[in-house]
Structures are given as C-alpha cells and as structure tokens.
C-alpha cells in the first residue's frame, strides 16, 4: 500500500493518457484496416487489434500488471476455460463444416 501511495497524480495521469491515446490510435487503425485491407485480411487484423486493446485495458486500466498472482490466476482461468469451450465446440463445427 505504501508503495502505491507514492505514485503521484502526474504519474497516474501520464500513464493513463498514454494508454488512452494508444487505444484510440488502435481504434483508428482498425477502422482504416476494415476499409483498406483486403477482405480476407481484414478480420484477422481487426480481431488482432481488438485483442491488443483488450490486453491493454486489462493490464493497465484494470491493473493486472501489478495484481497479486492469485488475481492473475483468476483471470487466466477465465481465458483457459474459454479456450476449452471454443476448442472443443469448434472441433465439431469445423469438422462438420469441412464436409458439408
């Protein structure tokens, strides 16, 4: 706690604003990519950008970067279980699709 209270207002703002500018820049980038990139590239680029933005928010706005291991573990669990859901369901849908 004491370590936290040393952070000055200036630092809080500086750090926050940098992240915010980055986020908006990414937003602009994905908007641009949606129109300019070839159709087959647009989706990967856009979802890649979205993922990057989400990571930024999680790490720097929601402060996962300084959180306890336990909290990080909780976040990781969410993602891991999400991966189970996606992987096994898509095993079925994709293998059905591939043959229809």
């Amino acid at each position: 706690m004491s370590e936290r209270s040393r952070t000055s207002i200036g630092r809080i703002w500086r750090r926050g604003l940098i992240v915010w500018v980055l986020l908006l820049a990414f937003l602009a980038l994905s908007l641009f990519a949606a129109y300019a990139a070839p159709a087959s590239w647009a989706a990967p680029i856009n979802f890649g950008i979205a993922a990057t933005q989400a990571v930024l928010v999680a790490l720097l706005f929601m402060r996962l970067d300084r959180a306890d291991t336990l909290v990080r573990l909780a976040a990781a669990c969410g993602l891991f279980w999400l991966a189970i859901l996606f992987a096994l369901t898509l095993t079925d849908t994709l293998s059905r699709l591939a043959n229809s």
Partner: protein, 229 residues
C-alpha cells in the same frame, strides 16, 4: 472458561463482526485483506463473465464460419459512425474509471476521484444515448429480425439476432456499471471520505473495465466485417 466468557462479552457489543476479525491480523493488514478479498472476488466474477460473453462470442464464431458471406452483407448495414463513436466514448470512460480507481487509493485525491467517477458516468450515459439513437434508426431500417426484415439472405437475420442480443446484453451490463458508480458518488456525498481506499471503488472500476473490454471485442464483430471492397 473464564477467558472464553470474557471474549464473548467483548464481542457482544460488536454484534456482527467481519469474518476476517480475529484472524490474528494487525488492524491495517486486516483492511488490506478486506480489499484484497474484494478485488479477488470481483476478478472471479469477471472470470465467470468471461465465459458468459465467451459463449456468446462462440455463437458468433460458429455462425460466421458457416455463413461468412451473409454475415459480411449484414455487417455492412450497421452504422459504423455510431459504432466507432461509441467505442471511443467507452475507451475514454475506461480511462476515467482507471484514474478514479487509482486516485481513490491516495489521500487528498478525493476530488479527483469524484470528478473521474462523474465523468465515467457521463460517458457511459452518452454511450447509452448514442446506442438509443442507433437502435431507433436500426428499427426504421427494418433491421429487426422477423417479418419485414430488410435483407433477403436468410443468415443475415442470424447476424442481426446476434447484434440485438449482444448489444442489449452489453447495455444491461453497462447500466449496472453506471448504477454502481452513481451509488459510489451518492455514498461519498452522504458520507464524505467514503471513497478513500474503499474497496468498492476498485470493485466497480474493475467491472467497468471488463464491460469496456467486451465492447472492444464486439466492435469488430458488429461493425467492421464486410466493409472492404
């Protein structure tokens, strides 16, 4: 037995104790404990919410894999101006929320905390307003699935089914977030100093951040597909 009796008398005054009392923790550690517990609790809840929205995203993924072309056609019909504006609004509100949360941890920053909370609420409300306008235009354009739907490709209805569902679930989450923040402001107003180091600020702001992230993912799903070419 006498020692036990003693203890009982003491506790009788403070009828309801916090569970972490008497865990042998020094006073301020107990407080940090409470805060850490609350943060951990909300993160577990967020993990749970990740699966809630994850299932929704899975639905999108599976349907889009099956009907890629129709989805691209349908996605072109959403209003990208509102969508982008809303994304920007939410990202900014996320900034305010993050600042509020960090400011609340420090003495002397109560005003900043309060202002940032206020800004967060306002940006959230602005998002809802834009969404409302967008919804009414969508309805005018007959983008509500069912009879009289504007597009003829069958799976475009699926896309809009997803669109309405995802955006309204997100809006419900956002409203809860707004309510939480308004409650914080109200509490501070009733009981100045409440916000300082309150675990509730952190909890509300983490929730806000999560709702933000959901929109970040929804944005390319709903607005960016099918724009090229």
């Amino acid at each position: 037995m006498s020692a036990g009796g003693d203890l009982i008398e003491k506790t009788a005054e403070r009828h309801l104790r916090e569970p972490w009392d008497e865990l042998g923790l020094a006073g301020d550690r107990a407080f940090a404990y409470q805060r850490a517990g609350a943060t951990f609790g909300i993160w577990i809840f967020i993990a749970s919410e990740v699966l809630f929205f994850g299932a929704l995203f899975l639905l999108y993924t599976a349907m889009r894999l099956e009907h890629a072309a129709d989805f691209a056609i349908a996605a072109r019909e959403t209003n990208i101006v509102y969508g982008t504006l809303n994304t920007a609004l939410l990202l900014t509100s996320g900034l305010c929320a993050a600042i509020a949360s960090q400011a609340s941890e420090q003495k002397g920053l109560q005003r900043l905390t309060l202002w940032c909370l206020g800004a967060t609420v306002l940006l959230g409300l602005a998002f809802m307003a834009v969404k409302g306008v967008e919804y009414s235009e969508d309805i005018e354009k007959h983008l509500l699935p069912g009879a009289g739907f504007a597009l003829k490709e069958p799976a475009t209805q699926l896309f809009f089914g997803f669109y309405w569902l995802a955006t309204s679930i997100h809006a419900i989450h956002l409203s809860i977030g707004i309510a939480l923040v308004v409650r914080l402001i109200w509490k501070e107003w009733r009981e100045p100093g409440f916000l300082f180091e309150s675990p509730q600020v952190e909890v509300a702001m983490l929730y806000w951040g999560f709702v933000d992230m959901i929109w970040i993912v929804l944005y390319p799903m709903l607005y960016l597909d099918g724009r090229a070419g």
